[in-house]
Each structure stands twice: as C-alpha cells, then as structure tokens.
C-alpha cells in the first residue's frame, strides 16, 4: 500500500551544525508509528520539517501521494496534519475553548463567533478524554497534564489524516495514558495515522505498529513492533550490542536502603487555599520522599507551599529545626531549598538566554562579588555540569531554546543541583529525558541524598516513584491521606493507596 507520509534523504543543519542527515521515514495509512531516539537525536526537528516549521536543506517529502507543498504549520493543518508539539504552543491566558477551537471557531452570520456552540463543542471534545472542566477559564490556570490533554484533544478534533504527537504523555499519569491509548486506537480504526514520539518504550509496545529509530540525526531503521524487544530498541538507539547493555544492567535508584539523618523539613496541617487543604510531610536528611496522587491531588501545590510561592493560610513548617515561612522563592533558596518546576517552558527556561546563563540563574547571588558576576567561576561550574549530566549543546553560550527538550530539562536540573540546597523538590525531574539519561539522573539524585541532603520527588510515573522513593506520601483532593514505606512498595500498592477512598471528618 502507498505510504501516507514518505520522507527521504532529509538534511537539516542549524548554523552549520547538522541536526538531520539523510533521515527518512515512511508512515502507512491507518498506522500508529513510533519515533524514538536519544535526547537530541533529531526527532522533534524531523517532525518540524514535516509540518513546515523548519525548511529542509535537502530531501523529498511526500504526503498522501503528492509532493508536499507545506511551507508553514498552517499549510500542514490544511493538508491534514495535526500536531502536538513537544513544547505546547497554547495560549495560557486564553480560555480553554479559545485554545481548542482556535482557527476553527463556529461562526454566526459569517463573522461573529458563536460562543455557546464553541463551548459546547469544546466540552464534547474534552469529554472523550474524560475531562470535565470549566472551559471558560484560562487554560493557564490548569495543570500541565490538563494542558497537555487539551492540546491532544484539539489535535484529535481537527479531522486530520495524520496526527503527530511529540512526547504527549510526558506529564500524564497511567490512567490518562490509558485514555489516550483508547483515543489513538480509535483514530487507527478510523483510518487515521498517528506518529508517536516517546521515551517510554512500554508505550510503544502498547499502541504502535511499527517504530522508526533515530540516532545522531540519522534513521537507523524501522522495526515491526512484534518483532523487536525493549532491549533491541535501546540497542538500536544507542548503537550498541544488546548483550553489552544487558551486562551493564538496568540500574535504577533503588529506594529504601537510605540511612536517615535528622529531620530536615516538617510540615503540619499546611493549607494554601482550596487546592491544598491539609498537608503533613516529614523529610529526613538522606531521604527521598515521593508525593503520590492523582491529577489535582495537590502535589505541585504542596511543593509551591514549601518553596514560598503560595502563602500558607493554615498550618506551619519547620526547616532545619527552625520555623520556616518563606515569603517568596528567594527566601526559600536562602534557607536552602530548591524547586525544579514541572512546566519547563512557562516556569523554567529563559529561552533567549544561553545555557550558561540559564544554568546559573538560581546561583547568581553566590557567584556575584560586589555586584559583578565571577565569570571564570561561572564557566568552570557550567562546564562541569555539562559534562556530568551529558548535556548536548554546541557550546555553553548557545541559547537554551535551541536545545532539544530533554537537554533543556538537564540544564534546569543542573540549575538546582548547583545551588546545593539542603532540600531539593523535584517536580517531574526526568520529564522528556531519554532512557539512558533517566537512569543517570536517578543515580545523581540518589547520590545527592546520600550526601545528607533531602529530596521531595513528584512524578507521574509510578515506576519512578515506587523504585525511587524511600517513602511515599499519598495525597488526595488536597489532603495527605496515607504513607507507604520502602522497601516493599509495589506499583499495585501505590495505585491502591491513591485510589482508595478516605473518609475525612467534616471540616466544620
């Protein structure tokens, strides 16, 4: 059968540095096609060439049997390609409805937007994903996961022939991923093709028919998913022998063997409004405490409370033995707390600044003498982190926006490690990071607590929590409801604890 998409010999370089080198890809109609590769392998760039965000330097692109004439993303949508980019390009200040129907608003009398109809349609579209939210509220007021789902819902609603998803599940938890898979299978049954980028190999085995593997800007091959294995895919991605990888072992952070030190942080009955109502947490030195819970359970809000972003309305905290009530992040940092935020684009990177400047942003007060930044020290430090985290960047003065998503994430992690906080709060620390780097990062976090620091870990990946945390505090609707202790936590136990319905005494 004639492929829906066929790209051959694609080259693309950014100011002389090649990102794609004669890469090729074929997607059959009605197929779910995976695209994998390490951070910086060129996946997102490949997609952007297809959708006209970037102009290719060489190569041919055919779509639906014709030479593609796409030169900008709008063309791509018109020819039937709907895309969810890795860095969501939604408008946070606009309502959910506006974001979902943008460019396709139902009209009355040809010009006026029919808002009731638009809201209704948006609610319909979102209900496929089991989301029931106020569609008039600004999108930015919802969590990253909801925003990601909204982006997916919008793309799926566009009646496309091809839906491209660049790491759609990076902030979703297991339930939401299942819902997404249901929708993807529905698309496939309707004859729509899906191009699916993910670092979660399990996901590929769950929904993909075939997988194309990329390495250093080249395509290494395409495999039928039934004829390959996880190990085989990893070997293809890294360009190494499966046997060697097996021998090296798939280490992870190994929770539960920590030797606990004194109490570092204690939060009692903390509330910051209606999303975090009553939250208790104790973190010892040398301990990784996970926060578990469903979407909207209050995990991120808990982190924001500890870090002084949201003011406490109730409760109290002690940190390093003294009462702690940071009024803003800068106070919290001075006390010795760090907070790696979940939303890389909105709350993490300063896009036009260099890797170096982004990495040292939180450390600036310590790098400054008489108002002047110590450049030599700064460079040395940045160089060290680029090496130890394996950040793929042309040089440290490259603007961070030009880095691949996973590499941006590593820079942000380095930003906080560099401040050497006593307590480090990590909200999705391995979001968008490839399999290999993920293990490295987990090892770095474990080393960090072994030095006598404490970590609060938030992750939508149950596996990461279960294996990484020494203890998991489960949140539900803004309350901390139970605690699980490692060793001995299983994913099942965690799921059960999260889903269990806890009776609370009426607040009155």
């Amino acid at each position: 059968m004639q492929p829906l998409v066929s790209m051959h010999g694609i080259n693309k370089a950014f100011s002389g540095v090649p990102a794609l080198q004669s890469a090729s890809l074929e997607v059959a109609p009605g197929e779910v096609h995976g695209l994998i590769g390490q951070n910086g392998a060129g996946k997102s760039t490949f997609i952007k060439v297809l959708t006209g965000v970037y102009r290719r330097d060489a190569g041919t692109v055919q779509f639906d049997g014709h030479d593609s004439t796409v030169t900008c993303p709008r063309d791509a949508q018109a020819t039937g390609i709907a895309t969810i980019y890795q860095e969501l390009n939604l408008v946070p200040l606009r309502s959910v409805t506006e974001n979902v129907t943008l460019g396709y608003e139902p009209k009355r009398m040809g010009v006026l937007i029919d808002w009731p109809k638009a809201h209704r349609r948006t609610r319909e579209i979102l209900s496929r994903f089991g989301i029931d939210i106020d569609v008039r509220a600004p999108l930015g007021s919802y969590s990253t996961a909801i925003q990601q789902l909204v982006a997916i819902a919008r793309a799926v609603s566009l009646d496309a022939k091809l839906v491209i998803m660049d790491e759609p599940t990076s902030s979703l938890d297991a339930n939401e991923v299942e819902t997404l898979f249901g929708v993807i299978r529905g698309l496939r049954d309707a004859g729509v093709s899906v191009l699916y980028v993910s670092h979660f190999l399990d996901e590929l085995f769950a929904v993909c028919d075939r997988v194309t593997i990329m390495r250093d800007g080249q395509t290494v091959g395409t495999r039928n998913i039934g004829e390959t294995s996880k190990l085989g895919l990893i070997a293809d991605m890294l360009g190494r022998n499966p046997e060697d990888i097996e021998a090296a072992g798939m280490t992870e952070f190994g929770g539960g063997q920590a030797k606990l030190g004194e109490i570092l942080l204690e939060a009692k009955g903390v509330s910051t409004g209606n999303r975090l109502l009553e939250f208790d947490l104790t973190v010892h030195r040398g301990e990784i405490v996970g926060l578990g819970g469903l979407l909207g359970a209050g995990r991120t809000e808990a982190a924001r409370a500890i870090f002084g972003v949201d003011a406490l309305t109730k409760g109290a905290m002690t940190f390093k033995g003294a009462p702690s009530a940071p009024a803003n992040p800068s106070d919290a940092i001075n006390e010795g707390i760090g907070f790696l935020t979940e939303d890389r684009k909105a709350e993490g990177i300063v896009p036009d600044m260099s890797v170096r400047e982004n990495l040292t942003l939180a450390l600036l007060p310590k790098l400054t003498k008489n108002g002047q930044i110590d450049r030599a020290q700064e460079k040395e430090l940045v160089e060290g982190y680029i090496k130890s985290l394996g950040i793929k960047t042309a040089d440290m003065d490259q603007p961070i926006r030009e880095l691949s998503g996973g590499n941006q994430q590593k820079v942000l992690l380095a930003r906080w490690l560099a401040t050497e906080p006593d307590l480090l709060i990590l909200d999705e620390p391995t979001r968008g990071v490839d399999v290999g780097a993920k293990l490295e990062i987990q090892a770095i976090i474990r080393d960090y607590v072994d030095k006598g620091f404490g970590v609060v870990l938030i992750s939508s990946e149950f596996e990461e929590l279960v294996e990484g945390a020494d203890r998991i505090v489960v949140l539900q609707d803004g309350y901390s409801v139970s605690e699980l202790q490692n060793p001995g936590i299983t994913e099942n136990a965690l799921v059960k604890a999260i889903a269990h319905h806890y009776e609370r005494e009426a607040a009155e």
Binding site: V350, A362, L364, P365, T368, Q372, I373, R415
Partner: protein, 315 residues
C-alpha cells in the same frame, strides 16, 4: 551577503545607506559643522534611548521620558537663578544638577512601584507622568520661557572635549557603563531574565520587583540628564517643548537598535546606533526641505520596518 546577515546587520546597512544618500544629495553634508550639530542632537536621543532599552528589556515601556526631561530641565535654571544660587554660584550649580536628577529618579521610582508592586500596565502607569510631569514643569515656570546666561551650566550642552561636543562623550561614557552593567553584573543578568521569562526568574529567586524598579529609575535618571542637556544647549528652558515627542524617538531608537518589545534583550550600543539613524533621518529630511509632518511619517515607517525585520529574525 545573504538574507540572514543582512537582517542581523540591518541597522548598520541602513546607516551606511543614509550616509551615502546624504553625501550625494544633501548640500554641505560632509562638513565638520554638520557633524557637531548631529552629535549634539543625537546625544540626548541616545541617552534616553539607552534608558528606554533597559525598560523595554524588562518587557515594559516608559512614556514619561519626555515629561521627565521637561521637569528636570525646568528645575535647573530655577535653582541656579534663585537667591541662593546667585549668592553661592558653585553650590547653586551643583544643586542645579543634583536636585533635578533626584526628582527624576523619584519619578522613576513612582513608575517602577506602580508597575511592579501595584501591577499597573506599564503604558498606563507611565502615562500618568507623561501627562502630569510636563504640567508640573509648566506650573514651576509659570509657562514662561526662561532664558539665562550661565556658561558653567551651558558647558553641558555646548562644551567641547578633544574638539567634539561634550554631551557626545557623556553619551558614550554612559553607554560603556550600561554595557558593563548588562553584561557583567547580576542586575543585568536578572534584567534580561525578567524580560525573557518573568515567572522563571522569580522562581529562581530573582528580585523581580527590585530589578523592574531599577530599570525605570535608571531610565528616568537618564531622561533627567537629557533634559538638562537640552536646556544647556539652548541657554533657555521651555517646559512646553523640552523633550516633546522624545518618548517616540527613544522607543524608535531602541527598537531600531534591536530591543525586543516583549523583553529579554538589551542592546545598549544598538540603542546608540538607532538614535543615530533616527537623528540622521530627521536631519536628512529637514536639510532637504521636507516638512516636519512628513518627517513624522518617515519615523513611523522606520519603526514599522524595524519591528518587521525583528519578527523575521525571530524565526
């Protein structure tokens, strides 16, 4: 030269084009006198444009620069011509520099506090002084033109160092200092971070409010200096005309120089380049007998062009 380098060096190319045009068509262009006139004119635009560049770098805008010029300019002669000023000329002269600049800084503090603490939109916040500042200046001077003879004060606008106008050197010195501030100090780093992603800057412990207020204070301070220069050049203060429409020139110069209106970039020397271009366009049109109104349209056209080039560059 390919499209990319043309875009990145658009300002320089434009400048060369204007110079060539003038050399060919404007009578008496290649004379020292022309250079002096242009330097003394461009210095005020450049000084204010550099302040504007810092404000724009935070994602803000300052419409009050012209009014602050009028205010500080109006105060100076009042001070050195006062009883005190004539009795103690040296002290009077010092006070005539210091007090207007303190008042200018307070105007900047007012703008900055409205914007960063009360979260008023920059356009609205600075509109307050844009309207009232010139009014206060006119009240101070009873709406009269104040002329004076004070060679020491006038040096600021008419003095020469190494044969070139003093205010040109002053602008250059300010540029060097600001360039260092932007590139080397943590204030400069935070300034760009706030403009580039305010939330990220704040969550990384950046003193967002202080930095914003700082930018408006510096901008107002520089406007105050420019106001004094204009008064010194003319040996007269005219509260109605001093700094009139300067906000437009300064914004235009900053944008032509490469400042992004959404913030995150502070090209200090770009602002000087932009100021030179704006001044030369004015001069070219004037010298070739084009009316003032048309010159305004030309300026508008330059701004549109600069913003267009920027948009293309972002891709």
């Amino acid at each position: 030269m390919n499209a990319q380098t043309l875009r990145q060096n658009g300002g320089v190319v434009a400048l060369i084009a204007i110079l060539l045009f003038n050399a060919a068509f404007t009578p008496n262009f290649l004379q020292l006198q022309t250079l002096f006139v242009n330097i003394s004119q461009v210095a005020t635009i450049a000084i204010v444009a550099m302040g504007m560049t810092l404000v724009i770098a935070t994602g803000g805008i300052d419409l009050s620069v012209g009014a602050i010029m009028a205010l500080s300019g109006a105060m100076a002669p009042l001070i050195f011509q006062s009883e005190f000023g004539t009795a103690y000329p040296a002290l009077g002269l010092t006070a005539a520099f210091v007090f207007p600049l303190i008042v200018a800084c307070m105007c900047g503090l007012f703008n900055g506090a409205l914007i960063s603490v009360l979260r008023v939109q920059p356009i609205i916040a600075t509109l307050i002084l844009f309207i009232s500042g010139r009014g206060i200046a006119q009240v101070l001077t009873n709406g009269n033109l104040q002329t004076f003879k004070n060679p020491a004060f006038s040096y600021l606008g008419t003095g020469k160092v190494l044969g070139l106008p003093f205010q040109g050197w002053l602008a250059l010195a300010i540029a060097v200092v600001l360039f260092w501030v932007v590139k080397r100090t943590s204030f400069g780093r935070y300034l760009l971070a706030v403009g580039g992603n305010e939330k990220a800057a704040q969550l990384s412990g950046g003193p967002v409010k202080t930095v914003k207020i700082g930018a408006y204070v510096i901008c107002a301070f520089l406007s105050g200096i420019a106001g004094l220069i204009v008064v010194a050049i003319n040996s007269a203060s005219d509260a109605a005309r001093n700094g009139n429409l300067m906000e437009l020139d300064a914004i235009a110069a900053a944008v032509v120089g490469g400042a992004l209106l959404q913030g995150g970039r502070a090209p200090i020397f770009g602002a000087i380049l932009g100021a030179i271009i704006i001044q030369l366009v004015k001069y070219t049109l004037l010298a070739n007998g084009v009316e003032d109104e048309v010159a305004l349209i030309a300026k508008a056209f330059i701004i549109v062009l600069a913003v267009y080039v920027q948009q293309a560059r972002k891709e």
